[in-house]
Amino acid sequence: MDCYTANWNPLGDSAFYRKYELYSMDWDLKEELRDCLVAAAPYGGPIALLRNPWRKEKAASVRPVLDIYSASGMPLASLLWKSGPVVSLGWSAEEELLCVQEDGAVLVYGLHGDFRRHFSMGNEVLQNRVLDARIFHTEFGSGVAILTGAHRFTLSANVGDLKLRRMPEVPGLQSAPSCWTTLCQDRVAHILLAVGPDLYLLDHAACSAVTPPGLAPGVSSFLQMAVSFTYRHLALFTDTGYIWMGTASLKEKLCEFNCNIRAPPKQMVWCSRPRSKERAVVVAWERRLMVVGDAPESIQFVLDEDSYLVPELDGVRIFSRSTHEFLHEVPAASEEIFKIASMAPGALLLEAQKEYEKESQKADEYLREIQELGQLTQAVQQCIEAAGHEHQPDMQKSLLRAASFGKCFLDRFPPDSFVCMCQDLRVLNAVRDYHIGIPLTYSQYKQLTIQVLLDRLVLRRLYPLAIQICEYLRLPEVQGVSRILAHWACYKVQQKDVSDEDVARAINQKLGDTPGVSYSDIAARAYGCGRTELAIKLLEYEPRSGEQVPLLLKMKRSKLALSKAIESGDTDLVFTVLLHLKNELNRGDFFMTLRNQPMALSLYRQFCKHQELETLKDLYNQDDNHQELGSFHIRASYATEERIEGRVAALQTAADAFYKAKNEFAAKATEDQMRLLRLQRRLEDELGGQFLDLSLHDTVTTLILGGHNKRAEQLARDFRIPDKRLWWLKLTALADLEDWEELEKFSKSKKSPIGYLPFVEICMKQHNKYEAKKYASRVGPEQKVKALLLVGDVAQAADVAIEHRNEAELSLVLSHCTGATDGATADKIQRARAQAQKK
């Protein structure tokens, strides 16, 4: 194991740094890196190279080439740069390539060289040109900061939600700053710049001069500055070869170092690990790499080739034409285990396991040693943790084997940390594979989360691997497999060379009814690519109509949308489509469409009834629905029209409509109503009082009550009120008037068509027993008993009933007999009954 620490370099007393190779690069570069614009995304992201950028200006005919490679140097895309000169390249957090042009336009490309969109950094930038640009990452997303030719800064903290901010001017700034960087404090992006010996901090309100505490004297200019991955620390490199390291707030100095090299470094980046106390900065010159920290000595490496540094969360990636390496601080767990002569529990456990494999009894000794100290749990944990930080699968395996071995001697060791680590490493090894080329470390992976890693795999169109990972980790379908399938489908619809049918079928075969897959999203994508037919085919698979309809509307398939909406049974959806149609089609076509969809039609009618009465009329007209049209005008005759002429006119229209509808009954009734209205008007004029809007019945009643008997009779004749009804009407009215004389006259005018029982009833209602009795005598024989009972003549009623020999009548009378007064009558009835039964 001695050789294992060979690549460990101590920095000071407490920390080791190691550098190991991730990949040997596959990319076969012809140029030197220094001849290219280089951008590499963090978290093992892709590398973009722009060869022959404009500033070289060797030959105008040679257009620059933009190449995108994976971290292992596998080519992902290559395109000829046809736009303006590029100042700076950078990757956003979503792994989109941002190319900042000299004119301030930012072009956004996807991982596969597909152009996404572009935006401008504003007029001021356009006028003064871009001198320098940085892409930086904050918790809001990715930002762009630009230094213009007028030495002013413009920045946007989030390119996804572009808000340009022009930073205040630095007073007396004549030339470009020697170096600058973006800081992010309190969720606000600042700019720190160095001009000669002075440092200025720009926030959106003001420019303030700052001095780092404890800065060595004699600095006349700052050559390079670096801010750490988490924006917590800042390093400054001065022209005296002195490096100051402190907090980014410039409130505290951590350490300093003098490297005595006055040449400006090519790059300077922080190399620290989260939760570690060690701070170190990696400085690169042409042929030299130096790790400096809180120690009098530095670690030095020789660079054989032109190299490029990529700061990461827990270290620095260094790639050159031939190799890709990772430099980081050895994590505590690994250090404990592998440090020479370490007696840490993990180290002993690893040793024990090795001896055990050699079948040596030493294994027991080691194990005993750990157990005696009661450190077995800790040992296992250490081994698991260290395994996570190892790059080589062999080493991971032996550490995990040791952990597993140690676990056997523990009673209650929760298995999840071991299981999770095995799973995580399996995933990590898979994505670190040369062909995939995402060299994530365990810490980065944890920071990134599996969801984002899956997104990145999807972005690289590595669908099978992503699905395998989901299945391996048993992620819920909605988050895992189906999400990836949906992405795959969205990619699939962009394959223009495959026919619509084939694409639709292929997608449906793969996706089926997988929960959480939205066919409408895929269809929207297809529509976005101009494949409307495919979109419609895909929408057929969408089970939720609510999702189908908006897209169909967008694609101007309104009629299809309407039938889909109706199928869904969701009236709101139907209504949305209706209003859309109403604006899109001319009125005639709109009505025709409605005509074929009764459900939509009734819905729209309901709406019109409340909001657009005129439209309602047009609708009926269009359909030649004369019946409804008639009803409409009838309603208008009493609801909307005020003047009598208008009302009559409305009724006339209604009557015409009813005739057209062959509803003569309604037409006749309407005409009657017109006549009545006119008549009522005349009555009001001639007699005064209220007649309008009374029904015919009430009109006649009112006339009688007013003593206009002649008129009443005339009216009844005109409107052919049936005799029976007229009699009832007159009877009630006269009784109400208590005009008993007239009533009697009326009763004698001719034989009553309703008989005389009603007379008795009505008189009794007015409590006029005297009058009632008059009529009771005239009631026909079959109702006589009832009439007599009504006037309260029980005895006579009994007589009549006995005479009729009617059992029902007898019991009716009996039920009216009240004990005390009608005792005799009751007896009489009982006797009659008995007699009847005898017979």
């Binding site: 929960p515 089970p543 939720r544 869904s568 049974g569 969701d570 009236t571 709101d572 209504f575 949305t576 209003l579 009764p598 459900m599 009734s602 819905l603 009618r605 309901q606 709406f607 409340h610 909001q611 019946q627 009803s631 009838i634 309603r635 005759s637 009493y638 609801a639 009724l651 509808a661 062959k662 509803n663 003569e664 009954f665 309604a666 006749k668 009734a669 309407t670 009657d672 109503q673 809007d693 009374l694 029904s695 015919l696 019945h697 409107f719 052919r720 009120i721 049936p722 029976k724 009804r725 009832w728 009407l729 009630t732 309703i754």
Partner: protein
């Protein structure tokens, strides 16, 4: 008394959960508008709201003053206004007027509209057209199920009937589907589903779709309710048109039960003020008489009164200790019972008085004659007289509809009631409450009447014009097929009913209830093809065997009956009776409790 539940009758699920859910949601919505606010409530929502959250709960959540939404300017001075309304265009205009008036006056306030049970796109559009969409915030209070009683859930949507069956507006179907979905989430999904009618089918399908979209969670639950039966009101109008003679139905017909409670006027309370009484299973006296035929109620009440007196009398022979016991434990209950008893006796008297005045016996006799299909001529002239007397237009309309459906005949008499009823007639026809005489049918007295009103030629044309589009009623044939008119040997004993016909004095088994009975017996529609054809409705049945297996035998005897368009108390009583006979328990879900008068009013056109 009468019929206690069989000992093996299944327990009803606890529906009070629905109330709690609705209350919590309302409180959440009110809290969304922090600070003091005035609440404007639509009149139709007041009673349901009262059953969910009383004023003190509203006050707790900083509701300052309460207003009714009506066509009057509101004098609220609060800085925050909250509207609790049904999604109707009329209400939107009201709100728009209020907001626009504020704008004119240069006043800025916060407005929040809470739609119950859901908002409609049309409403939002009106707000937009009125230019206030940006000024108000909209929310939904998904309060669609109000438990009126232990076995009765109401959606309190009386407009469902008119909207769907007259206007063909399907927007409430979604609400029904949501409500069913809520029930199946709370009480497990239903293994057996049956239904009849177009609306039932659409609701069912929409509900299924909702269940499919939200998979997983409910699937594991054991179903608490074994069957669900959906039916459209329009397949049985007859039952709803008949006068009710079961106590609860009579109370509804006479005093109008509103949202499970009734206002007894001074003539009932025998004091000078009216009293609002909650009518449900908690009212012990009412619970025993609600399903009884009215002829038994009086006897029962007097018996009850005697028992009560006897219990009061017991205290005579008591010693101090017993007396103390009596006062502390029993007296309160007795007093309560006493109060209820006197109320119901009062109600009975009042009903009797009203009914004898209108010659109730004659009316019932006519209805029975119509149902049985004899003495048509007499019935017709009775109805004519009814019209001639101008008793009540609604009553006359009801009788005409009954006559028309049972006999396929019509009796137009517009003169008496004014032109707007021409529209009412056309509404009734469209909804199938008035059917047209098919040509060739026997000429009844009614038709000769028609020809007297207009010319003979016109009369023929009327029938021609309508027979094409009108639904023909097959009531007579259905009645025969399903044996709806029980053969009576001697007197029907209303005290010990034999079948569901007791709810109509033994003269008629409610069609809707008979169909439910038949389908449940067969557990399918098999053998009912002819009836379905005559009803002219589509039917469906669905059994999920996997769920059926998991369901306990107890839950399989619980049946949820969904009435789309409303059900009457008579139907509820009839099914409660059926349940007791067969050991089922029925749960009722209705869009609203209805009766004949409400049906007619829904169809009437009134002058604004």
């Amino acid at each position: 008394m009468a019929f206690p539940h069989r000992p093996d009758a299944p327990e009803l699920p606890d529906f009070s959960m629905l109330k709690r859910l609705a209350r919590d949601q309302l409180i959440y919505l009110l809290e969304q508008l922090p600070g003091k606010k005035d609440l404007f409530i639509e009149a139709d929502l007041m009673s349901p709201l009262d059953r969910i959250a009383n004023v003190s709960i509203l006050k707790q959540h900083e509701v300052d003053k309460l207003y009714k939404v009506e066509n009057k300017p509101a004098l609220s001075s609060s800085e925050q206004l909250c509207f609790l309304v049904r999604p109707r265009i009329k209400n939107m205009r009201y709100i728009a007027n209020l907001v626009n008036a504020d704008k004119l006056a240069g006043r800025t306030r916060k407005y929040k509209v809470i739609f119950s049970p859901q908002k409609f796109y049309a409403c939002e559009m009106v707000l937009e057209e009125e230019g206030i969409y940006g000024d108000v915030s909209c929310d939904e209070w998904a309060f669609s199920l109000l438990p009126l009683d232990v076995d009765l859930l109401s959606m309190e949507l009386p407009e469902f009937f008119r909207d769907y069956f007259l206007e063909g507006d399907q927007r409430w179907i979604n609400t029904v589907a949501q409500a069913l979905h809520l029930l199946s989430t709370l009480y497990g999904s239903f293994p057996n589903c049956y239904g009849i009618g177009r609306c039932a089918k659409m609701s069912y399908e929409l509900w299924r779709k909702l269940e499919e979209e939200e998979d997983g969670e409910t699937k594991g639950r054991r179903p608490e309710i074994g069957h669900i039966f959906l039916l459209d009101r329009d397949m049985d109008f007859v039952t709803a048109l008949c006068s009710q003679v079961v106590y609860e139905g009579l109370v509804d017909d006479t005093f109008r039960i509103k949202c499970g409670s009734v206002d007894f006027g001074p003539e009932v309370t025998s004091s000078d003020k009216s009293l609002k009484v909650l009518l449900n299973a908690e009212d012990k006296v009412f619970n025993e008489i609600r399903n009884e035929h009215f002829s038994n109620v009086f006897g029962f009440l007097s018996q009850k009164a005697r028992n009560l007196q006897a219990q009061y009398d017991r205290r005579r022979g008591m010693d101090i200790k017993q007396m103390k016991n009596f006062v502390s434990q029993e007296l309160k209950g007795l007093k309560q019972e006493h109060r209820l008893l006197s109320l119901h006796i009062g109600a009975c008297e009042s009903i009797m008085k009203k009914k004898t005045k209108q010659d109730f016996q004659e009316l019932i006799k006519t209805e029975h004659a119509l149902l049985e299909g004899f003495n048509i001529r007499e019935s017709t002239s009775y109805i004519e007289e009814h019209i001639d007397r101008q008793v009540s237009p609604i009553e006359s309309l009801r009788l005409m509809c009954l006559l028309s459906i049972t006999e396929n005949a019509e009796l137009p008499s517009l003169q008496s009631y004014g032109p707007e009823h021409l529209l009412t007639f056309s509404n009734l026809r469209r909804a199938g409450l008035l059917t047209e005489q098919a040509p060739g049918d026997t000429l009844t007295a009614v038709e000769s009447k028609v020809s007297k009103l207009v010319t003979d030629k016109a009369a023929g044309k009327i029938t021609d014009a309508f027979s094409s589009l009108a639904k023909r009623s097959n009531f007579r044939a259905i009645s025969k097929k399903l044996n709806l008119i029980p053969r009576v040997d001697g007197e029907y004993d209303l005290k010990v009913p034999r079948d569901m016909a007791y709810v109509f004095s033994g003269a008629y088994v409610p069609l809707s209830c008979r169909i439910i009975e038949q389908v449940l017996e067969r557990r399918s529609w098999q053998g009912l093809d002819e009836v379905v054809r005559l009803l002219n409705c589509s039917e469906f049945a669905f059994t999920d065997m996997t769920k059926d297996d998991r369901a306990s035998s107890e839950s399989l005897r619980l049946i949820l009956v969904v009435f789309l368009g409303g059900c009457t108390f008579s139907e509820i009583s009839a099914l409660r009776f059926l349940g007791r006979e067969k050991g089922y328990r029925f749960i009722f879900l209705t869009t609203a409790v209805t009766n004949s008068a409400r049906l007619m009013e829904a169809m009437s056109e009134v002058k604004a």
